[in-house]
Symmetry: C2
Subunit: 173 residues, 2 copies
């Protein structure tokens, strides 16, 4: 069994989650088995239904229907709890040797906030696994980028919200 590689998409530009979703589509097109864990997301983004239709398994890991930056400390505690559960799902999924591609969408935030420990993550990644593992989100920790095989930084040069255009359904969400 060939060891799956680690990919990281980070930076402040648009295209991190969408690149991961594009990877999922390509993998599904090759009859690969795909698992997606969306950290911090509670609402259904536009890509969820079509990816499910194509056969991807998708888990929304945040049980609370509000953005993380509006949470009080009680709500953050629940979020941390949910993140740890999601982390369990990831570790078990990796061990099944069933998935060709596992996407940990927005997990970089969880790592950055230390909801998941560096030690635990590196241990999991160092175990034999066939899955290609993709991390997305701003502020990927340096140690993750050091460990990864592929790192792309999405660098924002221009974005419509700079002109006051809010996130649009079907395009940004």
């Amino acid at each position: 069994m060939e060891q799956g590689l680690i990919q990281v998409y980070t930076g402040d530009g648009k295209g991190k989650t969408t690149a991961a979703m594009g990877l999922a589509v390509r993998a599904l097109g090759n009859n690969f088995k795909v698992k997606i864990l969306q950290f911090f997301k509670s609402e259904l983004s536009g890509e969820v239904a079509p990816l499910k239709k194509l056969g991807a398994e998708i888990t929304l890991c945040n049980g609370q229907d509000k953005p993380t930056w509006t949470m009080n400390s009680e709500e953050e505690k629940i979020l941390i709890h949910d993140t740890k559960l999601a982390w369990e799902i990831f570790k078990q999924s990796l061990k099944t040797q069933e998935y060709d591609l596992i996407i940990l969408d927005e997990a970089n935030h969880a790592l950055n906030r230390e909801y998941i420990s560096k030690k635990e993550l590196l241990e999991a990644l160092n175990q034999p696994h066939k899955s290609e593992i993709v991390f997305t989100g701003r502020n990927a920790p340096q140690w993750l980028m050091d460990r990864a095989d592929l790192v792309t930084e999405m660098k924002m040069h221009k974005h419509p919200y700079q002109k006051g255009i809010p996130a649009r359904i079907g395009i940004e969400k």
Copy 2:
């Protein structure tokens, strides 16, 4: 009718085409109408079949089954011809006001090589159209980035081919 915005994904990092394909999935999930023109591509990448299944219209614009950098001048002439045909398809598609999203995958190369003229392109973009238009590919010309509403540069920090790992089916192609 609100004027559709222009997005550009460029740079040397992985994730340009995949980000565009992820956008397509999100748009299709919102029942948007999606058209994809793949410039310079002749073979079916892994993402084509699943995107078609979800309802996207996809046109492979390169009739020759070989990479552009291996072409002799005769073959390049045919490529330029095909690119001009693809360009016609784009202009007509834009005018139909039928598509919410039009992806011009790898078109930045065609612009960079001046297979399509700056004047013609800017004229087309300045006409009233509802379509969000996405350009991908390295070396996007500066005038296109100036005209665009969103520009993300995919910056490569690390890539497996630096370790001698060739493009893998289901992941890179």
